[in-house]
């Protein structure tokens, strides 16, 4: 089996201009931020991001000009508010915004994963999400005489980006016991190519000790990138918390587009590698975010 370990710069080479890029990302959680930084540095353009409830990563992609389109149920940094740079890009018409209900987004990805043309949901009926000309949604009758449902057309990302706890070199990916983001396993099943950054790379025998923690098999993964604290400034439970100061710094910077670009220059374009980024953030700050590990 081929060794799939590569650098972030190599891995984002799997992403081409114009691609649909799926992001595992909660408002402040488990986003593949190291990969997103590499993607911004690589200068990709015309990307269509797909994210259930993404946050800072989307704001960075919007700031860098990489983003043309966004499919999402919500863009939010939770208590830090809406992503201002996404908002500006949408309001100015630079980024197209396909808003879906949560079940509709999951249905679009679920259909792609199962090789189905669509999956139905009961959500959105009566809402204006169905009255804005979204060609990927269609109200259809139940052939058994029940109520109508909304067919949600399959949406197949070209590439999925994730961050997880560990993987082996073949690409088997595992996570610590804990809550799993809804996109973590569905998104890669729906996507053509899958890039996973991880806190550590282990051998297969280590994974065999806890098969119940493995979430992706080797054949579902195209690239493994070593990136300790690779989700920073978002959290990766139960290893480290999100970096509240970094979130606040971004929120402050993004009040002004010029400041946002300066932030990106410092924190994204500045450090050429993930190690450089970690050095910039500083060991003390990372250590303060690190949680006591369960035995």
């Amino acid at each position: 089996m081929p060794d799939k370990v590569m650098t972030a710069a190599e891995a984002v080479g799997l992403i081409r201009d114009g691609d649909v890029v799926g992001l595992q990302a909660g408002p402040t959680q488990c986003a593949p931020m190291s990969l997103v930084r590499a993607l911004v540095r690589a200068g990709r353009r015309d990307l269509h991001a797909v994210s259930l409830s993404g946050s800072m990563a989307l704001d960075w992609l919007a700031t860098s000009g990489a983003l043309t389109r966004l499919t999402t149920a919500a863009v939010t940094m939770e208590s830090y508010g809406m992503c201002r740079q996404v908002r500006r890009a949408v309001e100015s018409g630079v980024v197209g915004f396909e808003e879906l209900s949560e079940t509709a987004l999951l249905a679009r990805l679920g259909a792609a994963a199962r090789g189905l043309p669509f999956l139905p949901t009961r959500g959105m009926l009566g809402s204006d999400l169905l009255s804005v000309g979204n060609a990927h949604l269609a109200v259809i009758d139940d052939p058994f005489g029940g109520p109508p449902v909304v067919a949600c057309q399959a949406l197949r990302p070209d590439v999925a980006l994730l961050h997880a706890h560990r993987a082996d070199a073949d690409g088997n990916v595992a996570v610590d016991p804990g809550p799993r983001h809804p996109m973590t396993t569905l998104l890669p099943r729906a996507s053509d190519r899958v890039v996973v950054s991880v806190e550590e790379i282990v051998d297969a025998d280590t994974l065999r000790e806890h098969p119940e923690q493995t979430i992706l098999p080797s054949f579902a993964v195209d690239a493994v990138v070593l990136a300790p604290y690779g989700a920073h400034p978002t959290s990766l439970f139960p290893r480290y918390d999100y970096d509240a100061a970094a979130f606040q710094a971004w929120v402050d910077a993004s009040r002004d587009p010029a400041d946002a670009e300066a932030f990106l220059a410092s924190y994204v374009h500045g450090p050429a590698t993930h190690d450089d980024y970690l050095a910039l953030v500083g060991a003390d700050r990372l250590s303060a975010l690190t949680m006591e590990r369960a035995s």
Binding site: G26, P27, T28, Q29, S53, T72, A73, A74, V75, T76, E78, S79, M82, V86, R87, V90, E91, G93, G96, F97, E99, L100, S101, E102, T103, A104, L106, G110, T121, R122, G123, M124, L125, G126, S127, D128, L129, V132, P147, G178, P179, R180, P182, L186, S235, F237, P238, D241, Y242, A244, M291
Partner: protein, 278 residues
Amino acid sequence: MSGAKRSTEAQPGDAPSTSYSVDELVVSRLAAELADDDQVLNGLSSFVPVCAIELARRTHAPGLVWVAGGTGVSPSHPRMTASTFEWPLWDSALMYVDVATELWDWVADPRRFRTFFAGAAQLDAFGNANISVVGDYHRPRVRLSGTAGLADMSVLDKRIVYVVTDHDPRTLVERVDFRSGVGFLDGYGERARRGLGGGPALVVTNLAVFDFAPSSQRMRLRTVHAGHTVDDVLAATGFVPVIADDVTVTPAPTVAQVALLRDEIDPEGYRRRGFPAR
């Protein structure tokens, strides 16, 4: 927890508080909507709902199942933190929930998760909610965060309780720019005619409490918070609500509720976020 029993005798803590803030009043009013045999989940940035859920669990509803952040089932009583969607809520859970499969399946069952608390940038006279766009969808004047689960939840047979911390004419409007959350649509039974059960049940604001009039399904003023008048409320409302025959004063939180909130559930006061500064 499941064995907890409350005495039916009146306790000193059951007396109405004479020193509470509006956030505590709103939390208390929301907590009253939660039943001991029900389940509830909170969405993003839900400081007030999470306080209400936790207050209910610690008082009249010890059996209430809370799926914290849609993810962790019934954590041991956590303190409120700066996020209602993070590890402190999930750390001591009984179970981790898969949102894509498990959570949306359970929520689809009309017997379960009867009540859902939601906020909105705009809420209209018929209980339709907007958290999507102000202005045109394709080229909005203001792009909001997006519907998240509300466009699903509000279509199901649920009681949606809206929480408005900034009651003013721009928030409470005659008609929302965009229906992200489905209320009674244009009222007068339209929701039911479309085959949809449930709907908005209550609107709890920083000034008053509304339900919906049975026939027109327009928002109806039921109680006004102490310190405000019906006229205050009407002046702050961007439409003309129905006014109940018996508008009363919103019941104050109890002494015990206020103490629980201040001392145990939310000592940092995260619940005050979003309320106008006084």
